[in-house]
Symmetry: C2
Subunit: 128 residues, 2 copies
């Protein structure tokens, strides 16, 4: 499971998003123990300081919590996780529709376009 970090946005932001996704999708269950900062940093091929920065931010929002020398854990607040999932899903969809609009593709053309791409009959370009 690669981390797929690119350089066009701050890495620590992408790490935050990745871990959020892993929590929301259930890869990490509530109460699960996270690998240590150093271990995560190595897996993601980033500096431990960068990983620490991302984890601190996740902790600030309450999604994870740390116990001094034991380690770091996923929140047990399942309602918070569900809410985050709702929020992110809606954000992604609205941002997507906005992008389509800015491209000059009206909302009523979006669903047929997605269907085509899901079916895989779009060859190498999208005809418009």
């Amino acid at each position: 499971m690669p981390w797929n970090l690119d350089s066009d946005r701050p890495i620590f932001i992408q790490i935050i998003e990745k871990i959020q996704m892993d929590i929301i999708s259930g890869l990490y269950a509530p109460g699960d123990k996270l690998p240590s900062v150093r271990e995560l940093a190595q897996k993601a091929s980033v500096n431990p300081n960068t990983m620490q920065k991302a984890l601190s931010e996740l902790e600030r929002t309450g999604l994870v919590y740390s116990q001094r020398t034991s380690g770091r854990y996923i929140t047990e607040d399942t309602a918070m996780i569900a809410e985050l999932k709702s929020t992110l899903a809606k954000d992604i969809v609205t941002q997507f529709l906005d992008n389509m609009l800015r491209l000059g593709i009206p909302e009523e053309e979006v669903i047929p376009l997605i269907s085509k791409i899901i079916e895989g009959d779009d060859h190498d370009t999208v005809r418009m």
Copy 2:
């Protein structure tokens, strides 16, 4: 028409995307003259150097060209513009589907979700 630049990604990248969108959506027609660097910079509330950097990049890809002291113009290569539109549209859709997958929402649930949001009957959260 505000530029809506935020600080979570490099500004010159967002400017490039904005102008690409304006060309693709037809706001700028092929052959149209662009406002001067200084004028665009003022409208976008950025430093002229930043605007220049974005425009240089657009020129490197061939989407615009400059004439020494006359000004800068949109390419007349309509095929290039159409191709860019196809590419961007497909990129946006595939990235969107990828985001949904990472959220744990399979492709077959995507279209119903979008329909709901387009209809506007999602209140303030997306139920899942």
